[in-house]
Symmetry: C2
Subunit: 387 residues, 2 copies
Amino acid sequence: MGRESSGPLRLLRETHEERVLSVLRTRGPLTRAQLAEHTNLSRATLSSIVQTLLSNQTLTERRGEETGSAVRGRGRPVSVVTLNPAGGLALGMDLGQRRIQVTIANVAHEFVASGAVACAERTPWARRLQLALDLVDDLTTRHDMSLNSLAGIGVGVVGPVPADADPSGLVRSSDRVALVRDTLRERFGVPVFVDNNTRLAALAEAVWGAGSGVDSALYLRLSYGVGGGLVLGGRLFAGAGGAAGELGHISVDHDGPPCSCGGRGCLERYVSLTTLQAQCDNILDARDQKARDLLADAGARIGEVLAAACNTVNPEVVVIGGELAETGDHLFKPLGAAFRRFTHSQVHRTVRVTRAVLGPDAAARGGIALVLTATPAEPEWRRTSCS
Amino acid sequence: MGRESSGPLRLLRETHEERVLSVLRTRGPLTRAQLAEHTNLSRATLSSIVQTLLSNQTLTERRGEETGSAVRGRGRPVSVVTLNPAGGLALGMDLGQRRIQVTIANVAHEFVASGAVACAERTPWARRLQLALDLVDDLTTRHDMSLNSLAGIGVGVVGPVPADADPSGLVRSSDRVALVRDTLRERFGVPVFVDNNTRLAALAEAVWGAGSGVDSALYLRLSYGVGGGLVLGGRLFAGAGGAAGELGHISVDHDGPPCSCGGRGCLERYVSLTTLQAQCDNILDARDQKARDLLADAGARIGEVLAAACNTVNPEVVVIGGELAETGDHLFKPLGAAFRRFTHSQVHRTVRVTRAVLGPDAAARGGIALVLTATPAEPEWRRTSCS
C-alpha cells in the first residue's frame, strides 16, 4: 500500500487520506480511536494511512496530556495524532466594536501568536482594518514568523453579514464586508471568510470552548449588543439569510418598541449592557442590590427566549458569553429557573446551559476555525499534481 | 471501466456508485445535472457510472414530465434517472389519534398502495397496530404485491419519541415505541424506525411537499394538538433529546397555565382545535364572525412563535399543515403580519411561509422517507459479497 501503488488504488487511498486530514484539520488532535469514529474507517485501513502520513511527516504524534480537548477527564495518558504544525497557518481577526484582535494558529490547532488593540466605537472600517494589519506585522516580526504557508483568513465584523447564497437576492453583501474581503485577499493572496463576530465566537466555543465535542450548540452573547450563533455538526449554521441564531432579536414584549432589526420588543432592548447600565451604573457589581434586581429580571427574560430557541432546535448545549455572563449566579439562577419553566421536559432534561470559557479572543479564534473548516485539507502539491 | 476491473478500481468506483444510489434513494428521480450537483461527481465519472447502472438495471430512465418534483416549472421535457422501481419497497405507517394509515412506495419514490381506517381516540396501541397490520394484508392482497423486497418500515406515533442517543439517559423509549418496533421487526424481519407522526409529516413535506428541494424547512402542524418538526439537509433534525421542532410548546404567555409538557402558557393551549372548538363550534367555518375573530387571534400568536423559531434557525421555508391551516387567509393574514412584526428583517426577507400540500397520508409518507434515508442504498448482494 505504499506510494508506488497503481492509479485507482492511489485514488481510493487518497479519498480516505483526505477524510483523515479533513477530520484532523477541523477537530484538532485526536486519539486513533476518536479518529476511527470520526472518519468511519476501519482500524486496519486507518492504521495503514496514519502510518504513511506519519512517515511522510504530514502528521505528528504526541502524548495526549499535551492536548486538553482530546483526552478530557481521562487519567491515563494516550497518544494523539495531529496535522504537522508546519503544515500551514490560519489567521483570525476580530474587528470588534471597541477592540481589534488578531490571532494566528497552525493546522495542528496550536495558537502561536495573538495581540489586540483598543479602538474607539466609531472608528471607520478602513482604519480598523489598518489597525488589524499593523497587528499582523507586529506579531509576525515579534515571533519571527512567515505567512508563506497561510491557508486563509477568517474575519469577524460587527453587525449582520448576509449569507452568500441568499435565495431572495434581496440582502446583498454590505460595503464593509466587501472592503475587508477585497483588501485582505489582495494583500495576502489567500481565501478570506467574513462573518458576524458573535457567530464566530459561537463557532470557537463549539470547537475549543464550552461546547467542545458536542454535535449541536446554541451560543448567546450578552454584551453591549445581544447576539448569538448556532453550530451544528462542527459548522456554523447560517440559515437561508445568514441570520440563524439571532437570539437578541426574539421578541419578549408584543407591545415593546420597534427595533432597528425590523422587529419589536426585541430581547436586546431589555438586557443589553447599554440598556442595563443606563438603569444602574454598577450593573456588573453584584454587591449592588439594584444591580442584583435588574440581573434577576434580565435572567428571567433571557431564560424565556432560550426556552423558545431550545424548543425549536433542542441543542446539546447552550453556551452563554459576554460581560453580563460574568455576573454568574445572579444572572444564571433566574435564567435557569425561567428556562425550566418554559421548556418542554424532553428539552430541559437534555440541554446543558453553561458559561462560555474563551476569552476576548473568541471571535478571532472562530475566524481560524472558519478557515480550517472551509479550506481544503489536502496539501497544495497534491491538488495540483493530481488533476 | 467495466465490471472486470481490478480490486481497488472497483472499490473506488463502488464508493462513487454508492453516492449515486444514495442520492437517488433519498431524493427520488433527478436529471443528470441535478445528480451531478448532489453527488459532487464530475460529468464524465457520473456519465460512466449511470451508463453501467442503467445497463445492469439498477437504474431506469424516463421522461421528466412524469415526475413533477425533478423538473418543476420547466417547459422542456427532460430525461430523469431513478432507482429501478423493482429495487425494493418501503412501508410507512401512521398510528394517529383517530386514523390508521398505511402507505407503500418503491425506491423510485412511486407510491404504489395506500389505505386508511378510522379508529376511536382511546384505542389501545396493540389494537392500533393490529388495524395497521390488517391494512397491510388488505393492500398486498388487493394489489397482488409481495413484501419480499421490503427495505424497512417507518412508523409515526402520537406523542414524544425520545432520541435513541439521548445523552442524559433520562428519557427512555416508551412502551408503545418498543411494542411497535418489536412487533413489526419480528413480523417482517426488516429495520423499523419509529418517530413522532408530526415530525414524519414534516419530513414528507420537505421531501415531496411544500418544502421539496429546499435545504432547511420548519414544519408546524395545527390540529387537535400543535406540533412541528425541523428538517435540515433532507433529514429530520432530532436535537439532543429528540424534541427539536416542538413549536406547540413555545410559551406565548408567561402567566399562562402549566402544560403537561412541563412548560407553561404553551402555544398549543391557545390555538389547538380542541381549545378553539370549545370556544366556537364552527371554528373551521369562516362565514362565522366569531370563528374569524378567533382565527385572527390564533394567527397572531402563531406568527409570534414562528418569528422566535425563525430568528433561531432562519429556515428557507415554513410549512403549515393541519386542519386549521385549511382556513386559509383568515389564519394566514394575521399570522403573516405577526411574523413580519417580530422577525429580524434578514429573516423575514429570506423565509417563505406556506401551506402544507400533502394530504392525511403525510405522516405515513414521512415513514417511507425515513426508511429511504436510513437504510443503505447499495443492494444486498453487494454488501454480502464484498465484505
